[in-house]
Each structure stands twice: as C-alpha cells, then as structure tokens.
C-alpha cells in the first residue's frame, strides 16, 4: 500500500472513531433523559455565548483557564527541568532530596487544595497556580532526570575524549539528548495540569472552565453545560499539546519520522 493511501486510511479511521464516540454519546443521551446529547451541548454553547454566566463572556472563562495553565506550565517547566538536571548530575543533591521527592510524588495535586487555599486564600489566583504547578512539575522532574541519567555512555565517553568539561558535556550532550524525554514529561504534566486547573476552579474561582463545570451542578443539573466544559477542556488541551508538539519537532528535527 502506498504511503498516501496509508495516510488516507489512517485519517479515515480517526474520523470513524470520532463518529463512533458521538454515536455512543447520542445513544446514551437517548436512553437517559437527564443526559444532554451532542445537539443539546451545541445548543447550550450558543446559549452560553448569548447569556454569559456571571456577566463574563465564554472566552473570558476559557482564557482564564488557559492563562492559569500556561503560567503554571512555564514555572513548572523551569523548576522541573532545573530539579531534574540537578538530580541527574549532582549525586549528593540526589541522595539528599530524592527521598523527599519520592515521598511527595505520589500525592495527588488535589490533596494540596485545602492547605494551599488556607494559605493563599480562595479568591487569589496564586492558590490555583500553585495547585496546577504541583500537578505539572512532578512529571517534568521525573522525565528530565530519566533523560539525563540514561544518556548513552557512548556519547558521554565521546565528549570526554574530545575534551568536553562537565558543563560542556551538560550543555552539548546530556541536555540535547534529554530533550525528547523532557517534552514527554511536559506532555504528561500538561494532562495532570488540566485536571488540576478544572479541580481548582471548581472549588475556588469566579471564572474559568472548571467554574463553568461547577455551575452545571448548581440547582438543577445542567449536563449540557458540563459537556460544554468537557469539550472546551479537550479542545484547549489538544491545542496546547499541538503547540508543544510543533515546538518539539522544531527542536528535535532528528526525531521526525520523515527524516529517513
């Protein structure tokens, strides 16, 4: 089968999968009158555009969530890559702090919500940034550390015999070699980040997609609004992931499949 035919087939299968999911959703909605169908969800979306909740247009809610996740993501990336590098290249640092990290790592970011809110308040965005940050940073630390520590000794030995010092080895060998692992950590972290942002906004926010989802549970259940929130989270996270993939492809051209 030619490459073009294969591509067409794969796209066709992807579209088929989406259609199957929509059909399943439709069938489930038909069987349960409390569950909104895809058509109800689209209708609710346009109603939301015409009648903003809390006087804020829908894009304000979307942008609030995106802003929160991007700010937390940038901070988590800087701290996560920094910590991962330190764990990878400083044995003393690793021996000292890894046990603390290993104990905190499995704690779900949502478990921190009461403490963070108590500390930074309900209204302030700081508390949300911190919860999302915790959700993202762990995966970046783990993957960066794995990328650094699993650098092929062949490359390290080559650098050594070519006269590279410790910092040159880090900058020119270990870090470039770890970029794919770092991006894998960022993508995993983003997934947890979206979970954290929705949870944080559901508990303490006056705007954001999580706030919209929370509003769907007030008084009478509004599952169409819930689905609007779910679809918005899915779309936003897909766009952010896509941007990340484009950046990764730019930074790692040697990994592209069509290079060969």
């Amino acid at each position: 089968m030619s490459k073009i035919k294969k591509e067409v087939l794969y796209y066709g299968l992807s579209v088929l999968a989406v259609i199957l999911v929509l059909a399943g959703w439709w069938a489930a909605a038909a069987a349960n009158e409390n569950l909104a169908s895809p058509a109800d969800t689209v209708e609710r979306f346009f109603r939301l555009v015409e009648n903003p909740i809390m006087g804020k247009p829908i894009y304000v809610h979307v942008l609030a969530s995106v802003r929160r996740i991007l700010v937390a993501f940038v901070a988590a990336s800087i701290v996560g890559v920094g910590l991962g590098v330190c764990f990878g290249i400083f044995p003393t640092f690793r021996r000292m702090f890894w046990p603390v990290f290993a104990i905190l790592r499995p704690v779900p970011p949502l478990a921190w919500i009461p403490i963070v809110i108590l500390w930074f308040g309900v209204v302030e965005d700081t508390s949300k940034y911190i919860i999302i940050f915790i959700g993202i940073v762990m995966a970046i630390v783990i993957n960066t550390y794995a990328g650094i520590s699993e650098t092929d000794p062949l490359y390290l030995n080559a650098g050594k015999v070519l006269g590279a010092n410790k910092w040159q080895t880090l900058l020119h060998i270990t870090l470039p070699n770890s970029i794919p692992a770092i991006f894998a950590g960022m993508k995993t972290g983003l997934s947890t980040g979206w979970m954290s942002v929705v949870a944080a906004e559901m508990i303490a926010a006056k705007e954001g997609i999580g706030f919209l989802i929370n509003m769907s549970m007030k008084t009478t259940p509004d599952t169409a609004l819930d689905f609007v929130g779910i679809v918005l989270v899915a779309l936003c996270s897909s766009v952010v992931s896509l941007i990340l993939t484009v950046i990764e492809r730019k930074l790692c051209p040697w990994l592209r499949l069509d290079v060969k």
């Binding site: 062949l154 490359y155 030995n157 080559a158 050594k160 015999v161 070519l162 006269g163 590279a164 010092n165 040159q168 020119h172 060998i173 470039p176 070699n177 970029i179 790692c252 051209p253 040697w254 290079v259 060969k260």
Partner: protein
C-alpha cells in the same frame, strides 16, 4: 625534550575484581608515529585504550603523554571507538564541528577545517543530514572526520572499520593515512586484522591473550603506499600472524 616519547605506558596493570586484564604493560610511542596494536579478540586491547583516554583508571602504573599524566582535557587528543559515537541530534557538519567549537576556535577556521574534512571523508553532499539517516559505516566516517578535524597530536582508534565493507575499509585506510601525514598526528590504531595493521603502521605491538602483556614490537619498514600483494608485505603479515597463532 626532543627524544621524549609522545606516549609512555609505564608498568600498566588493570584488574577487574580478580580478573587480571593487563599485566605490567610498558612501552613508548614516538611523536608522529603510526603504531598498530594487534592481538586476539578479547585480549584487552580496548581496556588498554580506555586507560589511555582516562575512561578508566589503572590498578597500578601510569600513562604519560608528553611526559605528563594523560588527560583528554589537557592534551589535544581524540578517539574513535568501535561503535560510531556520532551525536544523533547534530547534523553531519555539526558533528565535525563539535570539538572545534568546544575548543572555542575561530569561526572561519572551524568552517574551513569542516569543509576540508567533509571533502576528505566524501560527505560534502550529506553535510546537512542527520546520522540517523545514514548507514553505520557513514557514521563511522563522520567520527573519523570529527577526530581529525582538531588536528590531534594523538589519535586513538579502536577497530574503527569493524562494521564496514572491504571496499570502504580500503578507502578509509588510505584516508586515515592521508590525514595522518597532513596533521602529523601520533596514531595508535587497535585492530585484530593483521593485514590492516601491516598496511597502516610503522610499528606493530603484538599483545598476548589475558593477562595481556606486550609480546613483541615489530618495526614495519615498508614504504608507503603499500601493496598487499607485495612479497615483503605478505612476509611481514605472516610473521605477525604466526606469532599470534603460536598461542
């Protein structure tokens, strides 16, 4: 200073646990000399090379380069391993430039040398390709080019042509000889291919099986370029082969 050896291995001994790999190995290599180290597979040739480039420490003894302890960061030396050690995230051109940039050389000089080396290894057209797009033998050509790009005083090569077909091997053997003459480097070339050793070297050090010692140092007075079907060439090749067959 004129008579000071480029490399001096003094009573080198290396043990891995109870396994004695190198047993009191001593020899000198002159500046600009092309020396091949030959011996049966698994006799410790690579261990010896790793000691020279300080990737491992000797159990006892020492290696001096220009009279001081060997250190890749202090000496202008380079190494070609058995496996191609190209950096997959760099293009062919950037792989060649790698150590020149590490040494913070002038940009124009880096470009001049890179162009020259790419031409010598026959990879000018693939300069923008990534190693992952190339064959293993092409990758090894990049590593050889990268090593010569810095015009090293000392170049160590550990069976660099093991994964290449015979035609390419002949081509690269001549390329290495050309680069050696041009850069006036001292070359230590490890191989178990006796014909290759006789074709390339001015002297062969013959190693014993483990625990390894230097069995013999055989001068190779044949003029370059050498002919593998020359009776003198065949005689020398058989002399060295017979020494190894003895064990």
């Amino acid at each position: 200073m004129g008579k000071q050896p480029k490399v001096s291995a003094q009573h080198l001994t290396k043990k891995f646990g109870d396994l004695l790999v190198l047993d009191d190995v001593s020899f000198d290599i002159k500046k600009g000399e092309f020396v091949c180290i030959v011996g049966p597979t698994g006799c410790g040739k690579t261990t010896f090379l790793n000691l020279l480039v300080k990737l491992i420490e000797p159990t006892s003894g020492r290696v001096l380069i220009d009279g001081v302890p060997a250190d890749p960061r202090k000496h202008n030396m380079s190494c070609v391993f058995q496996e191609p050690s190209t950096f997959p995230w760099l293009t062919v051109e950037d792989n060649i430039k790698f150590n020149l940039q590490i040494k913070k050389m002038d940009k124009q000089e880096i470009q001049r040398r890179t162009d020259h080396i790419l031409e010598m290894i026959g990879m000018t057209e693939q300069r923008k390709a990534y190693p992952g797009q190339l064959s293993v033998s092409a990758e090894q050509r990049i590593v050889i080019g990268r090593s010569f790009a810095m015009y090293p005083d000392l170049l160590l090569m550990d069976e660099p042509y093991g994964q290449m077909d015979i035609k390419l091997r002949y081509y690269l053997e001549d390329a290495v000889l050309d680069l050696w003459r041009e850069t006036e480097s001292t070359v230590i070339f490890i191989t178990h291919n006796i014909e290759e050793a006789v074709y390339l070297s001015q002297r062969c050090l013959v190693m014993t099986p483990k625990p390894t010692t230097i069995k013999a140092s055989i001068d190779n007075p044949l003029p370059y370029p050498r002919n593998v079907s020359d009776p003198e060439f065949i005689k020398l090749r058989e002399q060295i082969t017979d020494m190894i067959k003895w064990w």
